[in-house]
Amino acid sequence: MTEWSTPRASPVSLRRTHEPLRSRAFARNSPLRRLDWVLAFSVVTLSLLGGLLVWSATRTSNQDGFLKRHLLNLAIGLLLASMSALVDYRMLRAYAPVVYVVSCLGLIAVLSPLGDTVRGQHSWITLPAGFQIQPSEFAKVALVVGMAMILGEKRDNEADPRDVDVVLVLVLAAVPMGLIMMQPDFGTTMVFVFTILGVLAVSGAPTRWVAGLVILGVLGGWGILHFDLLAEYQRERLTTFATRPDKARLQDSAYNVDQSVTAIGSGGMWGTGLFNGVATRGEYVPEQQTDFVFSAAGEELGFVGSGLILFLLMVLMYRGLRIAANAGDAFGMIVAAGVSSWFAFQIFVNVGMTMGIMPVTGLPLPFVSYGGSSMFANMLAIGLLQNVHMRSND
């Protein structure tokens, strides 16, 4: 037995050891009982708040169309979350390669003629019924599961991942990352970098790798910020995939940030009240129902409301990292740490972007922003967290 199966000296664990094995098994088969209710509550609350904000941002020109679809996405998402929570994650290990390959195929499809461009990003596949899928969202889940498979397998016998494992992980990650960079979607790429970094660090990989990745991450971040300066020659290669010249896009994002910051700032302490935001009602902030949804919260709900959203997101992060800490095995821990790193980075970049302290990269705010693929991928990830939680020795 490794340290993972050794009961720890926590009161909860101690109490549990006195219970008969059967009753423990019974308890384990009752997922609701072991569900992380705080996590579930914050996710659902965030999604519902998101629904209100999406509604507010779109009702001027679309009545309640976006609200309905957001709620539908939420319903489907909850279903997906339940599925990913209920299947024992240790069985998921077997499917990890499949999930990985499918998501890579999806990313390849984006670059094929099947791919479509939305808001200047060539990240979508249009399905027959008019639905659009953004495979890079699902690739995040696949990446987390894939990395957990590699780093978690070995851990049953050996203490920490070896160099070989790290290299394997990087190779594994390189394929979807390369495909995503070709879209080009730097936001998602950076999410990948940060997720890999988090996973490798928590998995106990050698420090040099972690340090190296930190440097890479910093350089990458700098690259995004200074993309305009860096990439005169690089861009020529990349713009074949982008439909609009980058300069125009940058001008757009400057306008976007200006409007978003103004909207948030004008919210003050209490906000204008839902549906009463001047900027939100007047649709002054482009993409307000998706990437810039936090500006609607800032304007209409004020510091109190948008602070509450940040608080709920913080709760979500806290629970995620707690699940990682209490995971039953290395695989679970890495899955939870990966999901947490991914969310943490995405939340920070998204909210920071709406407040003008991070560059504009097309990243949605988990659960709050409108968007099916993002909602589904996030829900799958939450399902995984719940899965790990239910099967932890907590």
Partner: protein, 787 residues
């Protein structure tokens, strides 16, 4: 879990916490610390206001006739978001562009406008930014595309006939986004009549007024605040595209108050006609000045002014200046090269210049009521006689000063005869005396008396009369002190001219001029006997406006009250809810013995009958002077008039003709002052004009009186809640914008009661809330009929 993992997980937790702290701090900064700025910025971006101009208050004459009113005109405008928009020309937009073309074609047919013009007008101006960040107009030419905000109505055509406006409304589906709305437009139904009193309005250049029309001169400027009303407006939020999303606030405009003038249109008409016709007539008369350079030439008479004052109250019954102008020409702006451009460029005449209160002229002998009063108080009593030689040499002047028109009596004459014949030499002698006495006082280090100047100041000369009109002049009462200051100001110029000007031959005009300049440079500040003599007969440095002279004559005949002349008589709030009466105002008392004033008044009463104005009043005379000015006898038994002629010498110009009159002599009601530039002697041009004014006011002979019983109404006209105006006494109901509108082309009829017109109208009080007004308190209600 390895310790390393545990540690790193802990670090990750700390990192996540740090990220959230960062976000929360930024949120705190944006919303709590800098929130106010962003609220302002957001409002600046999203809040818009559209102002609604308030109907300007009407200007009424004493009888309630509208001198300034508001015509309702139709303006056709397009709402950008409702009017079919111009879309890029491609297959997808073909249908929509065809709809637009159809609407524009229909509009152009109806409004008789160019199709491309309508198309351009309904297109927003586009700008491109260059590398330096400067915006330049992209599509369309300046002023052709719509340079305003898209939520503002785009005016396509103003002042559109009613029929076209009705068609637009009736076939609304044919003209999507096109509206016909009523717009009040200032109109001056009587055209040029009383233009200098009314003034004119123009769009304000002040950003705060947002292009509102504001008064520029006349009562339009003086009472601008009263007349203007309060602009209404709508504040609303717009979305990013500029479409209105929500109304924030809306206030209705409050129309301006109506201003009642003491001017009586009928009198004004009489005055302007008399002034104009006698100016025309003067141009056919040979200059009567025998020894002038212009002797034998026709009089030029380019301009003039006339004032009719109510003697006791100082109210202005009429005030005119010639040449005049049409104030409505200023509404649309005057383009360079248009015939109206002369209003702004003709430097010599400047029709907009009100000579009655803005012009400064030497008053000549009309000033003698002042010098007589001064002399009597200064030791030249009324019961003594004085010598009136034909000429008088003052001091060491090489050239003697002589009387006009060869007047000169061999024997001594009374003060009365002095005034009647306007004997200057009497005043010269007294002036020389005065000068010597003052000089002696100064030698004894005592202040000079300057009795004529002091008396002039008491009569109101040398200072603004305080009339409620802008840009009044003060005139000049020359004292030693004044001359010192004035010559110090002019000395550098005169000394420069002395060096620059050619000296010329002895006795030539050039030499005379040079000697004058030389003298002014060296001894300009010296007050000499000649200066005193000039001042005594209203010449030299003495300058006064016709209005000042009228005020002084009113003081002479009303028992010594120097009144502040008033143009406005009352202010009536919209709907007649509140009436402010502007009361007559006493400026000062003359403090001259009533006996002296009455003596002068009675003496002047003889001037039209036997004195310098007798020709103008048709009194048979043996002399041949009246050849050029042949008038029928004036019925003095019907209307007794007194007055004083004035003939003021002006350097390089023909004499200014003055007549200051009052009547009826027994208890004077009015003072009439007429001044005609380069009009010859007072009896030549000004006195006949004044006579015609008197005849017009009282209806002498066959003439219809402008004023019934010769009296101005004592009460104000009444404005009913619906804006209807009732004349004082309630005899005539004057509908808003009565049918005297100039659009009829036949010219306004003054003197008859105006009939109702058919043109659409905006009564100033129409949008005011209906108030229950106790009309029983108002004078006109008793007999007047309310519409």
């Amino acid at each position: 879990m390895s310790d390393r993992s545990r540690l790193r997980l802990f670090v990750l937790q700390l990192l996540v916490l740090a990220l959230f702290v960062t976000l929360l701090s930024r949120l705190w900064f944006l919303q709590i610390m800098a929130g106010e700025t962003f609220v302002a910025k957001q409002e600046f971006t999203a809040r818009q206001t559209v102002q609604t101009a308030a109907a300007r208050g009407r200007i009424l004459d004493a009888q309630g006739r509208q001198l300034g009113s508001n015509l309702a005109t139709y303006v056709i405008s397009a709402q950008y978001f409702e009017f079919p928009r111009a879309l890029p020309d491609n297959a997808r937009n073909k249908k929509k562009n065809a709809v637009r073309a159809k609407v524009i074609k229909a509009l152009s047919g109806l409004l008789q406008m160019d199709e491309t013009q309508i198309s351009d007008l309904t297109t927003l101006c586009e700008y491109t930014k260059d590398s330096a960040g400067r915006s330049t107009l992209k599509a369309g030419k300046k002023g052709v595309c719509w340079n305003g905000q898209p939520y503002q109505p785009i005016p396509i055509k103003r002042d559109v006939p009613e029929r076209q406006a009705f068609l637009i409304e009736e076939y609304a589906e044919e003209f999507p986004g096109v509206n016909a709305t009523l717009e009040p437009v200032r109109s001056y139904p009587y055209g040029e009549l009383a233009a200098h009193v009314l003034g004119y309005i123009q769009p304000s250049g002040d950003a705060a007024d947002a292009g509102q029309l504001v008064g520029r001169t006349g009562v339009e400027l003086q009472y601008d605040k009263v007349l203007r009303g309060t602009t209404g407006g709508r504040e609303f939020e717009t979305n990013r595209a500029g479409v209105e999303t929500r109304e924030v606030s809306s206030t209705d405009p409050v129309p301006g108050s109506d201003l009642v003038l003491s001017i009586d249109l009928s009198v004004q008409k009489v005055v302007e006609d008399a002034l104009a016709s006698h100016i025309q007539r003067a141009r056919t008369i040979t200059d009567p000045c025998q020894d002038c350079d212009t002797a034998g030439q026709l009089l030029k008479a380019p301009a003039g002014a006339a004032v009719v004052l109510e003697a006791k109250t100082g109210r202005v019954a009429a005030m005119a200046s010639y040449p005049t102008y049409d104030p409505s020409k200023f509404l649309k702006g005057i383009k360079k090269g248009s015939p109206d451009h002369v209003y702004l460029t003709d430097e010599k005449l400047v029709p907009t210049f009100s000579r009655a209160h803005q012009g400064r002229y030497a008053p000549g002998s009309t000033f003698k009521h002042v010098s007589t009063a001064a002399a009597v108080l200064d030791g030249h009593p009324l019961d003594r006689v004085y010598n009136c030689p034909g000429e008088w040499r003052i001091g060491n002047d090489p050239k003697p000063k002589h009387n006009y028109e060869g007047i000169g009596a061999d024997g001594p004459i009374t003060w009365k005869q002095t005034l009647v014949d306007s004997c200057d030499t009497v005043y010269y002698q007294i002036a020389e005396d005065d000068w010597t006495k003052d000089n002696n006082l100064l030698k004894d280090k005592q202040p000079a008396k300057e009795s004529v100047q002091q008396m002039a100041t008491r009569f109101g000369f040398g200072a603004k009369t305080g009339i409620d009109l802008p840009s009044e002049v003060s005139g000049v009462v020359p004292t030693r002190q004044w001359l010192r200051e004035e010559s110090a100001r002019q000395r550098p110029t005169n000394c420069r001219l002395e060096k620059e000007l050619p000296q010329g031959a002895d006795g030539s005009a050039e030499r005379r001029r040079w000697e004058l300049v030389k003298d002014l440079c060296r001894n300009g500040s010296q007050w000499r006997p000649g200066d005193q003599a000039n001042a005594a007969v209203g010449q030299g440095y003495v300058l006064a406006s016709p209005l000042q002279l009228a005020v002084s004559y009113a003081a002479l005949v009303n028992g010594g009250n120097v009144m502040v002349p008033k143009i406005a008589k009352g202010i009536i709030a919209p709907g007649g809810t509140k009436v402010d009466v502007i009361e007559p105002e006493l400026r000062s008392k003359l403090d001259v013995d009533k006996k002296v004033l009455d003596y002068i008044k009675d003496a002047l009463a003889a001037v039209p009958k036997e004195g310098t104005a007798k020709c103008a009043f048709g009194v048979p005379t043996a002399t041949t002077d009246c050849k050029q000015i042949n008038y029928a006898p004036f019925p003095f038994d019907e209307l007794d008039i007194g007055g004083k002629t004035g003939t003021a010498e002006v350097l390089k110009k023909q004499d200014t003709s003055w007549f200051a009159s009052f009547g009826p002599v027994s208890d004077p009601r009015y003072v009439v002052v007429v001044m005609i530039e380069e009009g010859g002697t007072g009896g030549t041009a000004a006195a006949p004009a004044a006579r015609e004014i008197w005849e017009g006011i009282y209806g002498v002979g066959e003439k219809r009186p402008a004023l019934e019983n010769g009296a101005l109404p004592t009460s104000l006209p009444v404005v009913a809640p619906d804006g209807t105006i009732l004349a004082p006494g309630g005899k005539v109901t004057i509908r808003p914008s009565a049918g005297t509108s100039p659009s009829a082309g036949t010219g306004p009829s003054v003197g008859s009661s105006p009939s109702a017109g058919t043109s659409p109208s905006v009564p100033a009080g129409s949008s005011a809330p209906a108030v229950s007004l106790s009309l029983a308190d108002l004078p006109s209600r008793r007999t007047g009929r309310v519409m």
